[in-house]
Point group: C2
Chain length 176, copies 2
């Protein structure tokens, strides 16, 4: 069974988007990056938040995409499944679709829900070389500190890739 | 003349302290770290915020320390200078005291002021392997994104060291 990987590009000060969802800086730093290309090759399915779905709108060909949302749109594009409710069922469905490959989670809110439910195995961040000072935080949840274990550090251009394993707490480490 | 270096330990999600100034996690990850030891060897003076001064209270022997504060305490410990007012004058005084060595800036608020005034040359962060989810942000200032240039990446135990040069804007790059 594949892993659940939270994948994000962050500023050094921990934002995944600037004010008004500004993400040009992410695309500016999306040059050739072996660590990101490896993720793409190992992705069996995507679980994305509604905000990420609306903002990014990139559905890689042939990769099933699950969108966690309470606002199901009228049209459902090919390859996209909209789900609402418990995040654990969304993860179950998306992991099943991923087969032996990984489930990649995109979007701060859905990732936070997965993390709280003990469902994230690894985190890969690309640290872009800037301070934003404001915007959408990478992780914001009171009383929910999470310990990580570094797996890999690499550089690609001006970007630094940091990969971590999430140290699971015994009480909620079971897969749904 | 030495450089002005902002030195901090941050969580992966960009906090320098947890709720209620919690910093145990910083000390837990303060094991042997050549990048940090190099900074100590090259430090000629410290410029610290009042909060950092109150919380950390570590005055390395023989290193002059400048504290930017509006609340000057009654007693002034040996080697400590309290200043209020414009950050550029504090930086001038501290740089002069540093001689040919570096001026190290500690504390999010004073560092932010220095950065906005175009006075920070480099940033060294030690990324501790955890997500805090809440606390005192490393950098928070609306409308003040800053571009950085990566200089060095290294690991020490579970900590990742990232060193950057601050790309100065032409308008405010002059030293006081």
């Amino acid at each position: 069974m594949g892993k659940v990987l939270w994948h994000a590009t962050i500023s050094l000060d921990g934002f995944i988007a600037g004010p008004h969802d500004a993400m040009e800086w992410v695309f500016e730093h999306a040059g050739p990056n072996p660590a990101a290309e490896r993720v793409t090759a190992e992705t069996g399915a995507l679980l994305v938040g509604r905000r990420s779905y609306d903002v990014a709108r990139m559905v890689p060909a042939g990769i099933p995409q699950f969108v966690l949302t309470h606002r199901t749109p009228d049209a459902t594009p090919e390859g996209v499944t909209f789900l609402s409710g418990e995040v654990m069922y969304a993860v179950s469905a998306a992991l099943a679709a991923a087969g032996k490959k990984d489930l990649v989670v995109l979007g701060a809110n859905v990732a936070k829900q997965c993390l709280s439910a003990g469902l994230v195995d690894e985190i890969l961040v690309h640290v872009a070389p800037l301070l934003l000072g404001e915007g959408l935080p990478f992780y914001r949840r009171a009383g929910s500190a999470m310990q990580l274990e570094p797996l890999e550090v690499s550089q690609a251009g001006a970007v630094t890739n940091l990969r971590f394993r999430v140290k699971k707490r015994a009480t909620n480490s079971e897969r749904p």
